[in-house]
Symmetry: C2
Subunit: 548 residues, 2 copies
Amino acid sequence: RNEKLRRRIQQVGEYWKTHTQEEWYGFKIALAMVLSSIPVLVGPLYDYFGVNSLWLTISVIIIYEPAVGSLLSKGLQRLAGTTLAIVLSLICAQLAEASGRGEVYVIPVLLFLGSFVLGFLRQVWPLKKKYDYTALITIITFGLLTLSEYRIHAGPRLAGLRMLLIVMGFVVAVGTNLVIKPKFAGKDLHQMVSDHFSRIAVSLDACVQTYLAGTRAVELQKLLDGSEPEDEVHEGYRTVILAKGDEDLLHDLVIWEPPHGQFGFKYPWDLYKDISRVCRHCMYSIVAMDACLRSEIQCPVHLRELLARPMTRLAEEAVKALKAMGESVSEMKVVNLRPFLSAVEAAALDLQKELQEKTMSLIIPTPETDRWIESYLDEDDERSKASMSSSKARRSAVTESAEGKRASTEDDEFVEFSFPIMHVEEGLDDVYPHTDSYGHQSRVTPERSILQSTPSDLQERHRPSVELTYLEPIPPSRQGSLVDRISRRSSSRQIMVPVPGGIAVLSLVQFVCTLVEFAAKLNLLVNCVNNLSERAGFTDDGKIRSRR
Amino acid sequence: RNEKLRRRIQQVGEYWKTHTQEEWYGFKIALAMVLSSIPVLVGPLYDYFGVNSLWLTISVIIIYEPAVGSLLSKGLQRLAGTTLAIVLSLICAQLAEASGRGEVYVIPVLLFLGSFVLGFLRQVWPLKKKYDYTALITIITFGLLTLSEYRIHAGPRLAGLRMLLIVMGFVVAVGTNLVIKPKFAGKDLHQMVSDHFSRIAVSLDACVQTYLAGTRAVELQKLLDGSEPEDEVHEGYRTVILAKGDEDLLHDLVIWEPPHGQFGFKYPWDLYKDISRVCRHCMYSIVAMDACLRSEIQCPVHLRELLARPMTRLAEEAVKALKAMGESVSEMKVVNLRPFLSAVEAAALDLQKELQEKTMSLIIPTPETDRWIESYLDEDDERSKASMSSSKARRSAVTESAEGKRASTEDDEFVEFSFPIMHVEEGLDDVYPHTDSYGHQSRVTPERSILQSTPSDLQERHRPSVELTYLEPIPPSRQGSLVDRISRRSSSRQIMVPVPGGIAVLSLVQFVCTLVEFAAKLNLLVNCVNNLSERAGFTDDGKIRSRR
């Protein structure tokens, strides 16, 4: 019991230590609250301000956002809105007074007209997107001042007092928030965009590694039943591509922030948009590579291994270049990116040359290739079983979601990587040609599918096979033996003349092409980084040694 | 002058007609403002409520968001926050009173502690994400009530009055907003997700059409200089993939909305997330196809035409299926999607068969193929010029952005489709093999590049060429003539033995494979739509005949 208590205390202590940012915010808002309560608590001040001094608290707390950018944005919009409202309400007060006795009827009409115009404008660009808070404050203050003028007849004095209190609130809020451990949206944006580089690097590395290891089926299954929640490729894809919304929000805040830290007066924040745009496009290439990983058309692993060295090399060089760029942006120092880019280019050329040299080995079947076909066919059987069980898992997942027991939204991106499985209901032929992933065509009798699949499984399962026949002659010595061996092995399956390479190689070439395409995109990224480096005036030793 | 004035009036009239939604919002907020001013304007009521009646106006207007979901969310959070704050402030008042003389010192301490805890909690999940407004209102009201208790000593009566006014404000706001032309976030979300289907259809159609038409270069250039802002593929990609942020916001609001229109009590809004997730993945396939359009490896157009019929057929069937799904979701009616899916599957099989049959025609060179090579080489020259001018355009764009004169953020996605152009600084060979997009290898002497490019252009320009040599023998009859013809034509270029098919066909096969992959994904989408149709209880004739 004592042990339990101690562990609990330890947990709380750890939570406390890891949440300093939240604690500082709490401290700052508490301090602002106490400061804003002074006019109420101190006698002479209260005598001057009266009940209105309570407005100060509202003014301070309502704009007290954690990030400097949002605080300033809200505060300045509040000032602008109040000013505008004061002008409007003074006009209304004049009009109301001029109407004499009819004042009580004129005021609602004026309120209606004013609110209508302001409400309409609030919904119109650009107020709706960026200055919604200004419009809101204008409407509220306009109504408030017009109505209180009718009852209290304080004249401009009240409006002036309100303005004074709002200004004081603004000063208190900005003062405490800027002086004590300020949290800048710009820093967050900088961090977010800098992190893209390592995200891409990790995803790329994982993608190439997985492809070379040939662990397709495992990955797919793990993703389907959600047993591997931290897939690096998808985490990267989520954080880079889908970060756009968050980035846009930060961009909106950043423009309000004063120069701070290394981010000078006219820091080129807009270039961060360019960078993350290119980053997104790099990520699309990785998503396309990822699609190769999960495609039904798979190149034999031993053929992938023929290009393992240059592929790994290109991936490594690309990762190095990405890390260098990430370092340059993150630490704001000038890094000569040319050597990295040259290394990537050399590696890309190397990969292309290697592909060129290995074309023959890829196309001509070898004993290894034959063995792979056999094992792939075995694996195929296993996979059809796995697909059965995974489709069961999927069905149970659907049931679960039907019961409203959805997994947390955080990992909702994982389900979507289930590979499309299509069911051909009306097979155009009774015996339709079936191409396995190595491009070897077989005639699959419908009975086989039915025998190996449960009906419900069959409904969900169909491989979108690309049927291609390469008609080049095959060395006769190979031809017979392969057909013989496979025919002997499997009675339920009728293998047609195995054709070399073709489709299977396609998959490898496609992957390699996408990889090269990715490498080419790095050039664009380097341009962006260099552009930023130049316009932001990065220095050789890095302006910032250690941020946070 | 009279003419001008009339046109101006006409413009205003048209603007008025097309912005009914904004006008209704203006009307509703104005009405709410007038209603909320009654306690101030009507004598007896003012006698009862006093100055506090001004709070009603604040309460009404501050939560008066256009969408019902956000109004209810803000209103209920305001109620919850106020309730919580009243409890806290009553406790504080007790403590302060108990301290007697020390009250003026105890109150700031209590304020500090309370604000610190509330401020800390405000930054912690899940308050930060979803209930930020509750936390804000709690802090403000807590401070306000504690301070006014110190000065006014109104006791629970003030808190009760404040609560009453907030409830009244809530009723007024919800009443006017729900009764008159309500604007539901759910409807927006429904519209947004329904629109995805047609977006995908349009993008797919545009992608396949463009590919078959072979209008690559034009597209690229147009995109580079931004002369074609409404590219359907990219508009679709932006609105479908990058809509996630907006959708998440709407999902947050939708949970607050009461049943309305066809959206019943437990309408399965979470399934919309599944649908747009699969939609995003369909879009990724289209982005991959789009990459084929802009890739340096291009299949000759006449070879693409060999598969034009089945490709167009598959695209058409997919578009039909997408439209049917869109109709089903948008009009909330049960549509039997199986026939559409079967048609897509048949078209996919047809395409694959056709590809299989045409393989020989793809691989063996024909006079047409030869002609294409020549014209491609011509085009190549033109393109290198175009690339020069476009790189100039890009540079001028960079300069512009350097001057801060960026184009509006709306079209910032277009620039990113510039194809990566890489510069090889250290060519590994003096004369490195250059493969044109048709897979014909040429030896490009470095002089050629330098001759044809300005130095600044050279710095930005390099085609990431995939170098592959197909070593199969070529019919000798063709070999000579082609080489002769091309060698005669161009003196600065040395064409190596042209090799058939290979890389160029790869591009076509890659495109076709992605198209088939896309078609396979439709099955997943159909599952999602069927799931929604079932759980939402769509009817045969459509629950809604015409929305808006």
